[in-house]
Symmetry: C2
Subunit: 474 residues, 2 copies
Amino acid sequence: MVLPHTEARPRPGHADREHLVARLARSARHRPRPVADLEAWLDARARANPFEITEVPFAELAGWSFAPHSGDLVHDSGRFFSVEGLHVRTDGGPVDEWWQPIIHQPDRAILGILAREIDGVLHFLLQAKMEPGNINGIQFSPTVQSTPSNYLRTHRGARSRYVEYFLEPERGRVLVDVLQSEQGSWFRGKRNRNILVEVTDDIEPHQDFVWLTLGQIHDLLHRQNLVNMDARTVLSCLPDHAVAADPADSGIAAAVARSSLADDDAAWQPLLQVRNWLTANKAGRTLMAHQVPLRQVRDWHHGDVDIRHRSGRFFRIVGRAVRASNREVTQWRQPLLAPCGTGLVAFVVRRLGGVLHVLAHADLRPGYRDIVELGPTVQCTPNNFTGANRPAYLDLVCSDQVQVHYDVLQSEEGGRFHHAVTRHLVVEVGPEFPATTPPDYTWVTLRQLTAMTAFSYQVNIEARSLLLCLRALA
Amino acid sequence: MVLPHTEARPRPGHADREHLVARLARSARHRPRPVADLEAWLDARARANPFEITEVPFAELAGWSFAPHSGDLVHDSGRFFSVEGLHVRTDGGPVDEWWQPIIHQPDRAILGILAREIDGVLHFLLQAKMEPGNINGIQFSPTVQSTPSNYLRTHRGARSRYVEYFLEPERGRVLVDVLQSEQGSWFRGKRNRNILVEVTDDIEPHQDFVWLTLGQIHDLLHRQNLVNMDARTVLSCLPDHAVAADPADSGIAAAVARSSLADDDAAWQPLLQVRNWLTANKAGRTLMAHQVPLRQVRDWHHGDVDIRHRSGRFFRIVGRAVRASNREVTQWRQPLLAPCGTGLVAFVVRRLGGVLHVLAHADLRPGYRDIVELGPTVQCTPNNFTGANRPAYLDLVCSDQVQVHYDVLQSEEGGRFHHAVTRHLVVEVGPEFPATTPPDYTWVTLRQLTAMTAFSYQVNIEARSLLLCLRALA
């Protein structure tokens, strides 16, 4: 890939950045159309772009096959992604050794959102995009959500719309550009480029695209499975844009705003100490993950229509055939990872010194590039844990001892995962909840969480998704 | 490893951080003893701690052997590190495929420096430490420079002195704590924990340790091979601490100070655009590095006393026997990587809009966790490039068309590398040098470089080392 020639020029810098925060805040308060209209628009796009997904056995997964020696599930072109085996040994958690299939995708996809001022308010260009694994077919997705295999036309389809704005960012002004990890139990070392570019070009959106304000996107986040994972992760990387709340207001919206604006003096601990906690956990844990041939993965059964764990838990690898009308390629077949059961991610929040803090967990996963990232208080598929070994705080967040501020089902990426839905919870605990934490948990403000999200491999995708949901409460 | 129980408490935060910058600035201006005294002290420690290094063939490298199947050079315990093979394919640079030996060390070492106020001035505790590969035996090193294999006593030696301050950081206040990469052509995915902890305990240093101010350390950086690589990388991660210079002063010291204090408005481009440039280079380049058995590494000859490239270039793997008096273990044998020739790293600097900028390069190496990091303008071993394919700007930085501000030999890590010495250059070019850069180069201020250094895998070890040398000019 040839990078564009850099034509660096002096540009407005810091003052402009301050300005951006105010412009984001304005966009968050602006709701030009009710959320029902947006749902109706999405339904209309779904009707206009019919698609059909059918289950197919591996033998009929045209273009894909099990490699002769390894048994890895690979594409004939050698591109896109593959399903390989992983052997994991670790010192952490109740299980210290296991084998599993895992998706390997060395390509770095672009998850790109275009922004533009319309009538003085920042809008973001989202796409009504079908993915074969989506539980409801179409969801609001980034402007571009595409791997190089796609946008460089490896599969001979059409080039992704608007991708030129992200490959040649000097066409606009970059507001976010950071490599971020994805699901560390399902992807091995995967990262995507989260990029947000503001343009001044007068872009008339294609019929499957729509300009939305942050306020409208926040509204959509209160409905289930409407804003896809890729859009959530890009938007979570924006700078904080809360507006100072009335000090007398003790509601959750005001508390979220205050936590987003809290400087280090108001926080339970300075950002440097949060980073010390994360580095200590990254450096202190041991996890050895070795790629192994998929056929050597123990405890997993390879059938005609799926690869599944002998316990029936965790996930299955399945095949799907797709017929669509509005994709670069209109029909194809592909494997998907189908989780067994609905996931759950939760932030426990508590006021400390009057400032809302979230209880972050040092989350260990074999697929992370650096073993540990900051994750939600609870992150699991509850069905996988029966009886003993239930994750810490799982029972608490599902109990009536907490005040529930947010409880919405959100989808994981439908291009790789089949009907992967995760319940997103934000629950508040009172002063009876201990401020002292176990060593793999710590308290952070929203401002600190946002600061950590600005750099790669610090905050995991589930915590980033919850961070965006929290901002939608303000 | 068991992490200490976190006893988080509200602590002074932001205001304290401002204070830190002022305290670092004071330490940088303070030179209680002339540099000759420090050299004399180091010589005295060398005489008090005699050691002997002798070459040994692999057959006599007790504790180490070539693994039966792979031919990898491994320790009998399976710990410390190993020398493996790597097969690299890339789209960048003049060579697009090669094989090479590479050091694999999954352990994350602690590179830790203790800080403490003495008579109101911050001092840093450095150690006179012998390493078998050091060209001059003993150098100023961090307080602790140790892998878990060492500080947890895998080799049954004494526990590293002062390591408790880094394993239980609540004993002090953490000023720096970040995982950083090391040499990306010689190490595969290596990272070390760079940590700096300020204490108030009245520590009377052991006779091999000494408290130095930043000013004294800056003085030492003007002498060759005195401050080892590990100390340089930890100190490079400190926040900037320049003091505003007289606007009329056009000298390099004033220019370094102004560049360290320059906000985004004064910079050639905002920090966000620098990060966009780095992410674009990380995302846009392809490099596939696969571990292969060392015996399958093509073009390398395995002899009795070394493993060498058939061209005689790049590096050799050799064996050494060590007898020392002040180490955790007093005698051992180990392999070392011996570069063929002196390395060269250079920052080209230029004033743009009156502010000093360094010309950064997007440096691609097989050992990086994320393919590309921000590196110096030039980074190579000149001997490896005869005739064609000479790296960009190499001839320029060695020519008389530039103004040389810094030209000192500094050592790479003596625990893994044999007599690895790198010439560090800072050279200034005038307005005739084009401001427009090729896509894999860009201009950054020292403040931006420092901001990038605060997070993992952004700025490579050679650029961090040069950043510290630049600060020593102020």
